[in-house]
């Protein structure tokens, strides 16, 4: 009996040791033998199929690329569990905030030196500069590389504008014009609100409002979303908030709490005449043709064209087995894969500028000219502001926004409470660093 137990214990210990050794947390570096580089994305099944097809053309005798199947809807949960189990794939799609937070925790490999001078054309100079700046941590590390840019603007129902006798939104239109249009479009043809602007009324709303202040010559809500030293709401900012509060009060703009989860389908059905949104909606509209004639315009301005900047990218865990092989696949993803993927599904312009042509060609072919023009205008915008804090205490700022800023927008708290809200955020900045 004792002998049996001993053998079983030894077998278990052996199995455990084997399991532990087979993990991928053996540290970075490079190996001489064949390597499998795993890739995980949050894309749809169709886009993943296109990526897989494009990756099949990656030629390196020592490297096999494996695209992991991930249900796009549960990407966040999948990522969280893989992170905690220390089983992240070698390359995984990540947001700017994920990259910043994971890098600061020492979880990601630092590509800063590798991309600084780069291989041939694959170097930092060839990326959209605002994206590269934003992907660097305070100490200059880059836990990943930006892959696609997210640009934002206003989607409008051209039919509703024409029916109401309003000129179509275009570059250079003003915030006052936008609110006036929203007032005229509200409560018409099944549309309750003239404008649904989740970006202005959600937890990220205070950052979006920076566009008004900066465009009017004022200061943004925060000086830096990655490493903020202060938050502020100057007179121009306050003016922007006052105008939004008035528009919400008179029913032109959907208030905080409006469920924007199905706004895309409501817009396509003609029940939302104007909505803030990203360029990625164009890919969906290309396949599920909306019943309406629509367009995409840059954000309104006060004086200077100002827009939001945001980019998503590809990150690599610090424990990736072969950093050199992983970087080769990363380079291939950024430089070659988009040419194969974006024509069928033009979701976003690549952050690597030489790869942008296929995106704009696809939009032009699909006659989405207003989208192409607005994305180009956004990428060239004179002034840009960040979409949200990427700090670890960003969630606490979100809670303060729900408790203080959103009630101001709803008219439940006076605008004079704005400084108190800003003080609380500055308290967090001081505390969180």
């Amino acid at each position: 009996m004792k002998r049996t137990l001993g053998v079983t214990a030894l077998a278990c210990a052996g199995l455990l040791a084997a399991t532990a050794c087979s993990g991928s947390d053996s540290g970075g570096g490079s190996s001489s033998g064949p390597v499998t580089v795993t890739v995980m994305t949050w894309e749809s099944a169709e886009t993943n199929a296109a990526i897989k097809k494009a990756l099949a053309d990656f030629k390196d005798d020592n490297i096999t690329v494996q695209l992991l199947d991930t249900p796009s809807g549960q990407y966040g949960d999948k990522l969280a569990s893989l992170t905690q189990a220390k089983k992240l794939p070698d390359l995984f799609w990540c947001g700017n905030d994920t990259e910043q937070q994971y890098t600061s925790q020492g979880l990601l490999v630092d590509w800063a030196d590798k991309i600084k001078d780069g291989n041939g054309d694959f170097k930092s100079d060839n990326f959209v500069s605002s994206a590269m700046d934003n992907w660097k941590t305070a100490d200059g590390q880059m836990g990943g590389l930006p892959s696609l840019m997210n640009t934002y603007g206003v989607w409008y129902n051209a039919d509703a504008f024409t029916a109401a006798g309003l000129p179509l939104p275009k570059a250079g239109w003003t915030w006052d014009e936008m609110y006036a249009d929203a007032a005229k479009l509200a409560n018409k043809n099944g549309a309750k609100y003239g404008l649904v602007a989740d970006q202005l009324t959600s937890g990220d709303g205070p950052f979006t409002m920076s566009m008004y202040a900066v465009s009017a010559g004022g200061a943004p809500f925060t000086d830096n979303v990655n490493h903020p030293t202060k938050a502020e709401a100057d007179d121009k900012y306050k003016e922007g908030v006052e105008k939004l509060v008035a528009a919400i009060k008179n029913g032109s703009v959907a208030p905080p709490g409006y469920d924007a989860s199905n706004v895309q389908s409501l817009f396509a059905a003609g029940k939302v005449p104007m909505t803030f949104g990203g360029q990625w909606l164009a890919a969906g509209f290309q396949t599920d043709k909306p019943k309406i004639k629509y367009g995409f315009a840059p954000f309104p301005q006060v004086q200077t064209p100002t827009t939001l900047y945001d980019s998503v990218g590809i990150c690599t865990p610090q424990y990736t087995k072969d950093q050199d092989a992983t970087f080769k696949v990363l380079e291939y993803l950024n430089t070659k894969v988009w040419d194969a993927v974006l024509p069928a599904s033009p979701v976003a312009p690549p952050a690597y500028k030489p790869a942008q042509a296929s995106y704009f060609d696809a939009l032009t072919k699909a006659q989405q000219t207003t989208v192409a023009d607005t994305v180009k205008a956004d990428l060239a915008a004179e002034k840009t502001v960040g979409v949200r804090f990427t700090t670890q205490w960003a969630q606490q700022v979100g809670d303060l926004t729900t408790a203080n800023y959103q009630p101001i927008l709803s008219g439940k708290k006076p605008i004079s409470d704005l400084p108190a809200y800003i003080d609380k955020i500055n308290g967090l900045i001081k505390q969180g660093g």
């Binding site: 966040g76 992170t83 937070q101 208030p255 709490g257 029940k271 809670d399 439940k412």
Partner: protein, 299 residues
């Protein structure tokens, strides 16, 4: 103790060993571990850092979401528990009658309990949409005022409770069993004495099923304190903090949206606050139960 009794005890321990092992592994250890984590700053990625009562201090003093979460949870309990009991009992009394098709009615009343919760809650979300939802469409066609339902700060929690009441069949079935255990002689005697239906209800039915009412109060209160599915799917805690109940707040801190680092230590502190609240509520309910529950002490 006889030799046989000793081996019986050993056998008993052997029989309960798997259950006890399961308890210690899946309840005992997580309980102790979560208490330890509640005293640390822990994100699940790096080692926990001991902060003593720092998480609890933050909860009660600086967290703008905690007190609204407590308020929302309290509001939900106060609104849901009495309504579910009254509705469950009323349904049970109706289904306790003898009429043609009573079995069909009982099945229909219980059906929502066996349907997949996420699917039915999602359907309710569509129906409660203020712009294109079925409820507002009907109200509008009837010329009645519509509501913002889940999207109004004043109507969001009542709407969540409305969806929760959809599953009241579970309460009904237990009440139905209790009603059927009341001796019929008591009703016959009351009928002979000419007692009114209200009198029968308050003097016979309610006292006789009061132990089950107590059980239901405890079960429904603890369930309401731990409500998660409905607010998560219907409103995700909004608008504002109006439906951001404690369980949802714990979830959002422990498993935040993509890109945010989890605050597992802080979420554990919230779990312990909820645990203490549940224990306190059960203890208080049990303590005062003798004032209103009937127990047969006769031999």
């Amino acid at each position: 103790m006889s030799r046989n009794a000793g081996s019986d005890v050993k056998a008993a321990y052997l029989f309960i060993a798997p259950a006890m092992l399961g308890f210690f592994v899946f309840v005992g250890y997580p309980l102790v571990r979560s208490f330890y984590l509640a005293l640390t700053k822990y994100n699940g990625l790096t080692d926990p850092v001991f902060v003593g009562l720092g998480n609890f201090r933050r909860l009660f003093t600086t967290d703008p979401a905690f007190w609204p979460a407590l308020r929302a949870t309290g509001y939900l309990v106060v609104l849901y528990v009495p309504l579910s009991l009254i509705l469950g009992l009323a349904l049970a009394m109706f289904c306790n009658q003898r009429f043609a098709g009573v079995r069909v009615v009982r099945t229909l009343a219980y059906l929502p309990v066996v349907l997949p919760a996420v699917a039915t809650i999602t359907l309710w979300k569509f129906m409660l949409d203020p712009q294109v939802g079925l409820l507002n469409t009907i109200l509008d066609r009837l010329g009645l005022p519509t509501s913002l339902w889940l999207q109004g700060s004043g109507t969001s929690m009542p709407s969540v409770v409305l969806v929760m009441l959809w599953g009241v069949g579970g309460t009904m079935i237990i009440f139905l069993a209790a009603l059927q255990s009341v001796p019929t002689e008591l009703y016959e005697a009351a009928r002979v004495d000419g007692a009114s239906p209200w009198s029968v209800f308050f003097r016979i039915t309610l006292p006789m099923i009061s132990p089950i009412v107590l059980l239901q109060v405890i079960l429904q209160t603890t369930a309401a304190l731990q409500t998660f599915n409905q607010p998560k799917i219907l409103t995700n805690g909004g608008p504002g903090f109006s439906t951001n109940v404690l369980m949802l707040s714990i979830y959002n801190n422990g498993f935040p949206t993509l890109g945010r680092i989890p605050q597992l230590g802080y979420a554990s502190a919230q779990v312990w606050v909820l645990f203490v609240i549940i224990i306190a509520v059960i203890a208080l309910t049990a303590k005062f139960s003798s004032l209103w529950t009937y127990s047969d002490t006769s031999d």
